[in-house]
């Protein structure tokens, strides 16, 4: 995406236009005669196209946006691919020529652009560059999924590893996945913790793990995972490390003045359940005050392994509540509402603590233990062969390749080390820890085969390709079947590759694409930070935001599973809702927390542009932001970036109280028009704003509205290409004129994600080839398959080889001896 950001300069042309028009002829005549000659040789029509629509501004004299057609060879665009890719993008997305200037007819434009593309692609085919991505460290999501698939254990990766750097829009870009001491430490620590969780640890000291319920999470209704007949609370899957007794500790929410939130409601009870079975029922004393003892269960026997624990309130009543004042859905919005008589607002859970193990008795069978202990030694003699079997199988999967003799010896050394200090199981646990801390697990190695010279392009090995595929489609390890196929050298076979890609996509693990690719592409991870103003949007609780995210994930997932056209993301006439979201959208007759597919009747809700997630993440907390929405559509959908705003622009005036004086309320549109009156702002804003304004009927949390701050919503406007739009539906239709640009943008981003590296203009021929080969209907599966077949996915360029390998071993050993000295003197801080 990097080269796209540079486009910004070209936007200035819209401002420079009036003076320019008069100079058209003069500029044309002054054109470089050599370049003009090459235009002629390429065909008069292209020359005419440029001089008629482009060269009036983009000539040597004006160099509008820092670009002149006289400086580039139109006949050989491959030589100036970077500039011409910008030209292609600008034309394909309708951003050029600027508004108000004559525009070419669609077929003329298409012929011109296609001609450029064909010439660039032809030139690129002669000199392909698959690139050489850096060593790829597993990021958080990949680490979590890999652990899950390896050990059958769900770990909270956010507390184990620091956040990954994001660049080119994604957190799986190998060049940004650097290793720092803090990170290394985290991997080492995580390896220790996870190995204990996986094998169980009856000797461990009791600890407290606490799960918190967000204060913007409504606890009035049933919460997914808790027993039916209860409301609110929390449901978690907790990994117990040993069979033993555990105490569950619950803290309730209190109001600012120390009363129990919900103190007006008598007879409330809190139920604790393990895997759906009630283990304790605790009465809540409404006279409780802040600082009184937490609610605690007696010690309860729980078995090791992941168990579903929930703490929720017994539902005491149902049906509509008819109070004088209605409490908002975001039930904790005002903490006093929990202590006013006559207002129905029951107690809420603040957190659940799980303390233990006390009186640990051992470790029962768990999923992880079954995955690890594939054999059990009955006699001491059987220990070693069994250990060998266990570690070699685990290491093969974790390292994603057959384990070398040396690696295997290392593993057994570690096993023996652990065995000597404990028993068979402690040896295995140490080996698991070693596997997880090992660079061979944490880093995806791609090695240059011997015989390949520096600068040569070569196919990566089948096993490396298998890893590339699995981390692309699953964000996880290749499974046994994929490793086996690769190990037999069959993955090069086109039919086998297709079969494996289809198999990987069909597997539920490919939901990783929705969770990692789609949410990042669409910026939906920002929903976690979205905090709709509680006074303006009192019904927007965390439950709703979570449902919004799930909706978009499910829509994307349906494109994957049903192998639909990626354009359907913009046009889908169906979506996925639960009760909360259905109510938000005004869809009737949906009850409960289960998401289900519904057909949409309101055309304005079709596709991504009608989804709460997108509309919320592009809004401020207290108002919509047509600019942010416009920018989002330009960047995430069409793939063009407006330049950064200049610094001294006042923020949009807020509709709120300052210094005790109430400002006159104005609609967002009115406030924006004032903002846009500044000329430098207008040049970019007239591209972004009409897009965003067309969505003004959706408020800052994506609910439909017809009035804004009391004024009727006016969604009308004119896009930069002259199209008039006046509704989300109209906008969607206008955008579909540019569906080619959208597909190109989608493919560019998916390829970026798949390769784990930023793309440059030299990758655009690959993108176009993928689109061409995927066919007219742009099916998701075809795009994925053609990415998997593409040169950069299959190949790699060899870097210069290390001079003397032997020497580096020696120096490494030498380093080892003086490492203390080195570290204390030279090692950087941190």
């Amino acid at each position: 995406m990097r080269y796209i950001a540079v486009l910004s300069g070209l936007f200035i042309s819209t401002m420079a236009y009036p003076q320019v028009a008069k100079n058209t002829i003069a500029a044309d005549q002054k054109g470089d005669s050599q370049k003009a000659a090459s235009f002629r040789s390429q065909g008069a029509s292209d020359h005419e196209f440029v001089s008629r629509y482009c060269a009036a501004c983009h000539n040597d004299k004006l160099k509008t946006g820092g670009f002149s057609f006289a400086q580039v060879d139109q006949a050989h665009p491959g030589q100036n691919a970077e500039q011409f890719e910008k030209v292609i993008l600008k034309l394909r997305t309708g951003m050029m020529p600027p508004a108000g200037l004559p525009r070419p007819k669609a077929d003329a434009l298409n012929a011109f652009v296609t001609g450029l593309e064909t010439r660039i692609d032809r030139a690129a085919a002669a000199h392909p560059n698959p690139g050489a991505p850096a060593l790829h460290r597993l990021n958080r999501a990949e680490y979590r999924n890999s652990i899950h698939d390896l050990l059958g254990l769900d770990v909270d990766v956010e507390t184990l590893l620091p956040a990954d750097n994001i660049t080119h829009g994604f957190d799986n870009m190998s060049e940004a996945l650097t290793v720092t001491p803090t990170l290394m430490e985290a991997y080492i620590r995580a390896a220790g913790k996870i190995s204990r969780l996986a094998t169980g640890d009856p000797g461990m000291q009791p600890i407290v793990d606490t799960y918190r319920v967000a204060t913007n999470f409504s606890q009035i209704r049933h919460v997914e995972g808790t027993p039916f007949g209860t409301r609110g609370g929390i449901s978690v899957v907790h990994n117990f490390q040993a069979d033993g007794e555990y105490i569950f500790r619950m803290t309730l929410v209190f109001t600012r003045n120390t009363f129990l939130f919900g103190s007006t409601m008598n007879g409330q009870q809190l139920e604790v359940s393990v895997n759906g079975q009630r283990v304790a029922l605790l009465d809540i004393n409404p006279l409780m005050k802040t600082g009184d003892n937490d609610l605690r269960t007696p010690p309860i026997k729980v078995k090791a392994g992941p168990q579903n624990i929930s703490a929720s309130f017994i539902k005491k009543g149902d049906g509509p509540i008819d109070d004088f004042l209605q409490r908002p859905d975001r039930s904790l919005a005002d903490d006093f509402s929990g202590q006013i008589p006559g207002l129905t607002n029951p107690p809420h859970l603040r957190d659940l603590g799980i303390m233990g193990p006390y009186k640990a008795t051992g470790v029962s069978e768990t999923v992880s233990r079954r995955k690890i202990f594939i054999c059990r030694p009955a006699t001491p003699d059987q220990e070693e062969p069994c250990a060998k079997e266990i570690v070699s199988r685990l290491a093969r999967q974790a390292y994603r390749r057959p384990v070398s003799k040396e690696s295997f010896d290392d593993l057994m050394q570690v096993y023996w080390d652990g065995r000597e200090h404990g028993n068979f199981e402690s040896g295995i646990r140490m080996a698991v820890q070693f596997i997880l801390a090992n660079p061979e697990f944490v880093i995806r190695f791609e090695r240059t085969p011997s015989g390949v010279r520096p600068g040569d392009d070569y196919r990566v090995s089948d096993l490396e390709l298998a890893s590339r595929l699995a981390y692309f489609l699953w964000s996880s390890l290749p499974n046994e079947e994929l490793i086996a196929v690769a190990n037999q050298g069959k993955l090069r076979d086109a039919a086998v590759l297709r079969q494996q890609v289809e198999r990987l996509l069909a597997n539920p693990r490919s939901e990783a694409l929705a969770k990692n690719f789609a949410t990042q592409w669409l910026h939906l991870r920002g929903l976690t930070d979205a905090n709709p103003d509680v006074y303006l949007y009192p019904n927007s609780d965390d439950n709703l935001l979570q449902s919004m995210l799930r909706e978009t994930e499910l829509l994307f997932d349906s494109i994957v599973r049903e192998d639909r056209s990626v354009v359907d993301l913009l046009t889908a006439n169906y979506t996925f809702v639960d009760e909360r979201l259905a109510k938000h959208y005004g869809i009737p007759n949906i009850q409960g927390n289960r998401f289900r597919r519904v057909s949409l009747t309101d055309e304005n809700r079709f596709g991504l542009l009608g989804q709460g997630s997108v509309l919320t993440v592009t809004s401020a907390s207290n108002r919509t932001s047509p600019v942010a929405r416009g920018k989002w559509v330009m960047e995430q959908i069409l793939g063009v970036s407006p330049p950064p705003p200049p610094p001294n622009v006042p923020a949009l005036a807020e509709n709120n109280v300052l210094g005790g004086e109430t400002i006159k309320l104005r609609s967002v549109r009115e406030r924006m028009e004032q903002h846009r009156a500044n000329e430098p702002c207008n040049s970019c804003h007239k591209m972004m704003d009409p897009i965003g304004l067309a969505l003004e009927n959706f408020d800052a949390v994506g609910a439909w509205r017809t009035r804004d701050s009391g004024f009727p919503v006016d969604p009308s406007g004119q896009l930069v290409d002259g199209t008039r739009v006046d509704s989300p539906t109209g906008l969607r239709r206008a955008l579909l004129q540019y569906s080619d640009a959208y597909v190109a943008n989608f493919t560019t981003r998916l390829l970026t994600y798949a390769l784990g590296r930023g793309l440059s203009s030299s990758d655009m021929p690959t993108v176009r080839k993928i689109i061409r080969d995927s066919g007219e209907d742009h099916r998701f599966g075809s795009i994925v398959l053609n990415i998997a077949k593409s040169a950069p996915f299959q190949m790699r360029r060899a870097e210069a080889r290390p001079a003397v390998t032997q020497q580096s071993v020696v120096s490494e050993a030498a380093l080892d001896h003086k490492k203390r000295v080195d570290i204390s003197q030279n090692k950087s801080g941190q």
């Binding site: 990097r2 950001a5 850096a134 060593l135 507390t159 620091p162 956040a163 994001i166 660049t167 940004a176 650097t178 290793v179 720092t180 803090t182 990170l183 290394m184 430490e185 080492i188 390896a191 220790g192 913790k193 461990m204 000291q205 009791p206 600890i207 407290v208 606490t210 803290t251 209190f254 120390t258 802040t290 690696s407 290392d410 080390d417 652990g418 200090h421 140490m430 660079p439 061979e440 240059t448 011997s450 991870r525 905090n531 907390s621 200049p646 610094p647 006042p650 300052l658 210069a800 080889r801 290390p802 390998t805 580096s808 203390r820 570290i823 204390s824 090692k827 950087s828 801080g829 941190q830």
Partner: protein
């Protein structure tokens, strides 16, 4: 709270702090009060660098005239300005440095214009000008906390720690425009090319400081295992390098250097743990990230007190927010989102409101100074032996200006900074001069330039 009022029962603490659940764990984990190193009379200074984004109302033209941040008087007899009023009790420790410019954060070419929010944080402690790139070839630092840690942080278990409040992983509006997000994610750079991640979860920080495991014995046996595993990884170095190109080899070398560094840390922490003896009772590890800004601030600052007190590390850097954050701080009484308010549009009412927010942010640091001052250390207290730097890499953030950046120091840095001073610098004094002065005073004497520095300040 855990140090100054230890006699107060946990319940009382809870009652007083509303629903603040975050603190009790510290109580249970605080080892004996005496620092563990054989403390010299004047121990080596601790350095804590805190960054707040978006400048301050006092750096605007209007706010400057009204002395929102910089006091009207220079020298020792200054009156505390409205923004800094919460620091009044620490007057003898305070050094307010006004009217310096952070030039490295400015755009140096037309294409860099507008992206100030992305660049600023990277410049705050480095004085350098970040290279415009979204790739791996980021370049800025090193930052002063890391220069200090490299020289004076190597004999403590951790050379330094990096903490933050807002989630660095989330894609912020500040990111992009040709710059890698890493520039706005961290203020610590161990070298020109190595930005250090900042940790948001107090629990993770806690485990880094004191190790994982419930008892000294458990921690000790775990660190033995960790060491054995790290040793084994180092054995396989040569094998791992086979068939890698030079760039990948150097990447792997970095990885393995880190392995050694971690091994050193684990040993050091284990030694400390042995010396420390067992903790008082069952550890109630911090719950994770608290919900409110204030609770989170308190916890992160408490961890820094704890780290300094035990000399587990002497260096911390702490990022209180991220650029373009639209956070709302209800406790401040200001309802406008942070970034929106910082673009005050020259409206005096907005500027006054922004000053109120700045005042609130500064006030969250006051309890930290209080705790440092109440913690005995060597021949004095911890604030005597610390230098806390608080500031922002922007001045008037409405116009993305990096002139007159707000900054103050607190603490005597083991006698190296006299305090009780408002220094108003001549126009166009580089802020890098302050960075250089801090380094020179703290014992990095051979350093003669940071960024565009032109000399020392008279503080």
């Amino acid at each position: 709270m855990y140090i100054t009022r230890k006699h107060i029962s946990r319940r009382t603490v809870l009652r007083g702090a509303g629903a603040a659940l975050a603190l009790p764990f510290l109580e249970s984990m605080v080892p004996a009060q005496t620092p563990l190193l054989k403390t010299a009379a004047a121990p080596r200074a601790r350095l804590c660098t805190i960054e707040m984004v978006h400048g301050a109302a006092g750096s605007t033209r209007t706010g400057g005239k009204l002395h929102y941040w910089s006091p009207a008087q220079e020298g020792p007899d200054f009156e505390f300005s409205p923004t800094l009023i919460s620091l009044k009790p620490y007057r003898e420790y305070m050094t307010i440095v006004s009217n310096t410019d952070l030039n490295g954060a400015r755009p140096w070419s037309p294409k860099e214009e507008g992206a100030d929010h992305t660049r600023s944080s990277a410049v705050y402690l480095t004085g350098a000008h970040p290279r415009m790139t979204e790739g791996a070839d980021v370049e800025c630092g090193p930052s002063i906390d890391q220069i200090y840690a490299r020289k004076f942080g190597q004999d403590t278990p951790l050379p330094s720690i990096q903490l933050c409040i807002e989630n660095p992983g989330s894609l912020s509006a500040a990111c992009g425009f040709g710059y890698s997000c890493v520039y706005c994610d961290t203020i610590s750079w161990s070298s020109a090319t190595n930005p250090l991640p900042m940790e948001r979860d107090p629990r993770v920080v806690f485990e880094r400081l004191f190790g994982a495991g419930g008892t000294a014995k458990e921690r000790s046996s775990r660190s033995r295992e960790d060491q054995s595993i790290l040793d084994r990884i180092q054995h396989s170095v040569a094998r791992l390098k086979q068939g890698l190109g030079p760039a990948d080899q150097s990447r792997l070398n970095g990885y393995l250097d880190n392995v050694r560094e971690i091994e050193r840390r684990i040993q050091a922490i284990e030694q400390y743990n042995t010396a420390r003896g067992d903790v008082k009772q069952l550890p109630n590890a911090p719950v994770g990230v608290p919900e409110t800004f204030r609770e989170h601030m308190d916890l992160m600052l408490d961890l820094q007190v704890l780290a300094f007190m035990t000399e587990t590390t002497r260096v911390s850097s702490f990022k209180m927010s991220r650029d373009v954050s639209s956070a709302i701080y209800p406790e401040s009484g200001v309802k406008t989102p942070f970034h929106a308010l910082s673009h005050h549009g020259e409206d005096p009412k907005n500027i006054a409101e922004f000053a109120k927010l700045n005042q609130y942010h500064v006030s969250t640091v006051a309890p930290f100074l209080e705790k440092l001052r109440n913690t005995p250390d060597g021949d004095g207290n911890l604030l005597d032996h610390s230098l806390v730097m608080y500031g922002s890499p922007m001045g008037d953030s409405h116009v993305h200006e990096h002139r007159r950046v707000p900054v103050f120091l607190a603490g005597h840095a083991s006698g190296k900074i006299k305090g009780n001073l408002h220094l108003n610098c001549p126009d166009e004094t580089p802020m890098a001069n302050l960075l250089l002065t801090i380094m020179n005073r703290l014992g990095i004497e051979d350093l003669n330039k940071i960024g565009d520095s032109s000399g020392n300040l008279a503080i």
